[in-house]
């Protein structure tokens, strides 16, 4: 049986002999942790090691891990709750929106300063005092740009992984 035939047969992941129980269980536990780490890397990026790109690659790695262990269709039907359209491409539409939207967000975050009389891609920093719990809270406009980077990279990597994985 070739790889394509394996991919195309009716899916039954309980009966899938390609992965072991151990790997499936570990994946269940590890993936939420990876995603949590990825998001925290994204958020803390301005002051500590991390940032949009690293967070994005880590997020993509988490999804690719699910692909490898559970297969593409599981991600589509059970994780993302999409109806299968037969050719195994349905999530790619969403990923395309993700990287398109990310790029748009990055460009918009660059254009917004122009409205306020600054140059293209000027980044500002706000400090809010007397915030409960934090006392002083910093918001950098660069975060929106970083969010754009994150979405673009996640969308692009997942597109590549889904397309290559379907092959």
């Amino acid at each position: 049986m070739s790889g394509r035939e394996l991919d195309n047969r009716p899916y039954d992941y309980e009966g899938d002999r390609r992965t072991t129980v151990i790997s499936r269980t570990v994946t269940r536990i590890v993936v939420p942790l990876i995603l949590l780490t990825a998001v925290s890397l994204l958020l803390q990026g301005h002051n500590l090691p991390g940032g949009g790109f690293i967070g994005a690659v880590l997020t993509a790695a988490a999804f690719v891990l699910i692909y490898v262990i559970f297969g593409l269709e599981y991600v589509q039907t059970d994780v993302l709750r999409m109806s299968p359209d037969g050719d195994g491409h349905s999530p790619v539409g969403a990923y395309r929106w993700l990287f398109g939207g990310g790029l748009a967000l990055a460009v918009l975050s660059g254009l917004t300063p122009i409205l306020f009389g600054y140059e293209f891609l000027t980044q500002g920093v706000w400090f809010f005092k007397h915030v409960p719990l934090y006392e002083e809270f910093e918001v950098a406009s660069a975060f929106f740009f970083d969010l754009g980077v994150y979405a673009t990279v996640v969308g692009a990597l997942l597109t590549v992984a889904a397309e290559v994985g379907t092959e």
Binding site: H46, G110, T122, E138, A142, T152, V164
Partner: protein, 804 residues
Amino acid sequence: MQPTPEVVLAVVFLPFVAAALTPAVFRVLGERTAYFAAATALVCFGLVTQLSLAGAHGTVSYEWIPSLGVSLAFYVDGLALLIAFLASGVGVLILTYSGGYMHGEPGQAKYYATLLAFLGSMLGVALASDLISLFVFWELTSLSSFLLIGHYTSESASKYAARKSMLITVSGGLFMLVGFLLLVWASGQALPESTYSLVVLLENADAIREALTASGLLVPALVLVGLGAATKSAQVPFHIWLPNAMEAPTPVSAFLHSATMVKAGVYLVGRLRPLFLSEEAPLLGEWTLLFAILGLATMTVAAILAVSSTDIKELLAYSTASHLGLIVASFGFANEYGAEAGAFHILNHASFKAALFLVAGIVAHEAGTRQISKLSGLRKHLPVTAAIATVASLSMAGIPPFNGFYSKELLFEAAWYAGKEIGGLGYLFPVVAVFGSVFTFLYSVKFASLFFGEENDNLGHVHSPPATMLVPPAILGLLVLGISASATLGLGPETPINAFVGHVYGSVSPGDPHGFSVHFPTELSPYAAMSAVTILVGAALFPFYDRLHDGINALLRGPVRANWWYDGAVEGLSATSVRTIPSVQNGLLRTYATWALASVTVLALGGYAAAGVSLPAFEGFAITLPIFLVLLVAVVGAVAVDIAPSHVAGVLTLSILGFMVAIFYILADAPDLALTQLVVETLVLVIFLLVLNRLPAFYGEVNRSRAARDAVLALAVGATVFVTVLVTTAASPAEPIAGFLAENAGVPAEHPPFFTNAGGGGNIVNVILVDFRAFDTMGEISVVAMTALAILTLIRMRERGETQ
């Protein structure tokens, strides 16, 4: 008076705006888009008239690329206004005519949009005074011509014709660009600073010419610019694209390939004439040798070919080339008659030739054929058309008292004086002029004769044309009569037509020109005799027209035809590239990688060698034990990749190398890099394993010589990277940017609640990425998105079977 800048800009850019709107307008108006387009042309015509009536003369300039001295500059003078008048005026008529002609044809939105874009480009060519602007508009006319010739995209004849005209005119334009650059270089030698401005070049013509002569570049510059003009104006041997261009719808042929676009080359010759031809120019200088001979040769050869044509549009196409040759020859002669003849004939030719093309369109549309042998006696069905055709044909033949006679008379005058003053072989000029004109007479009379005589039995029912198709050629016919009347009555230089031609004459001649007027010859001068000989010999030969036609066709075989050379060259090139592809692009990734890497290595190392870069001095190792151990493991991993027995083992050992690099980053205090390296390495490993699923598990037999070649290449690439790193890190600027970044990345000690002048972040790497160098990052994520799109397209297209 200085021209109003807004008016000049509107003239050039209004058609482009209208072209952009055309698809939307077409949805609303449908076939009546023709009148929208004609109205646009009419507005341009009105604006040009306003400029002309106001006596505008001068330059309008806007900055375009100030760092290179290139500007968007326009120059309004007699010659520019003449071409602008032709483009916009004939444009109005052609677009109106198209409303009738294109009824029910496919692709009308594209057709009108392209015609309007062409109109704007042509007005740009006429008015541009900056050499780069001129070149851009020049190539835009070639592009729109390409689209219009290939209007019927499914027919192979259209495609062949469009490619041919594109290849010839665009490559000619590139030669012209090189010629322009030579002129700019010469201006840098002759003037305080180099200039792209035609006006400045013309004002300092003597100094530029001296600079060119001193450096021996006069002839190269002349030939290069001449190539641009000759390809555009279909001069021998580049005349071959024009008859094929008749595949375009007839209004296009009338507009682009008779009245306007092909005039661009002639315009360029006229425009540069005062630059290359001083008042005291020798009679037989480089200019005259090039253009008088080129023009007369074209005039004669194309007239002979016109007699050999079997199709009315083909006949008119060769006749156009022939008349363009007449104008080029006139400009080529270094006397005032030449300048007058060229200036006057541009106007005359546009008037009668556009009328004749529109007549040909009516005949083809209503009689259903363009074969000369099948057409005769059309007068009964198309009386008005026949009258227009007769007037225009007689003017084309150079028969008095029509306007074509007067401009040809001026050419004879120019040729006669040139011959007389040069003496000896110089008399060939008038002789060749008369010889070519005899053929002009023959085909002109042949065209008129289609409307007379017995009606051909094979001709079916001939409809009468709609008014929109009849009025435009009628207006042109009246214009021919008007110019003829003005000339025959011998009106003075102040009358409108003569004053206008006088301005054009002023633009193409050096020094101060006198007023322009022509009059009917009343005494037997040598050139009047030349006209008489032309008409008498032509009339005597006309009964033998069919024999001449067959005789020329019998001679036109093999290498005698310029087409034989063109087709041979194009086919030879295609065959060569088809043969080369299998060895250059064989579909194997390793071939592409080999070529790409080898060229990068050779170019980079060659660049260093050429720049004389020296390697920094070696200062001894300064690494700690942990780093040494990590790098050692990395080297071991690298060696293991090379001897790995399978793909999976190879990929796994490769990732050892990657992870060691990550650890190296940690040891070198770069946590961000290390994190990135770790996650990327992981992801790449997983994707590799996904892909490997599709590949054979083991390598095939290893070819020894190929392995040796790859090893050498790998060593060379590694050496290149090594040298590059050494060289780039050796340079130490006085104030490294790191200092600025470190100072501004963090939160300032004293800061307001909102600030933009500092990064405000503790992680300097991230602040650089999203703030100081955010524009770079934006470029990078665009590349990431593009890569994803490319992979998506490649894989999807293959699955859908859309590849060829």
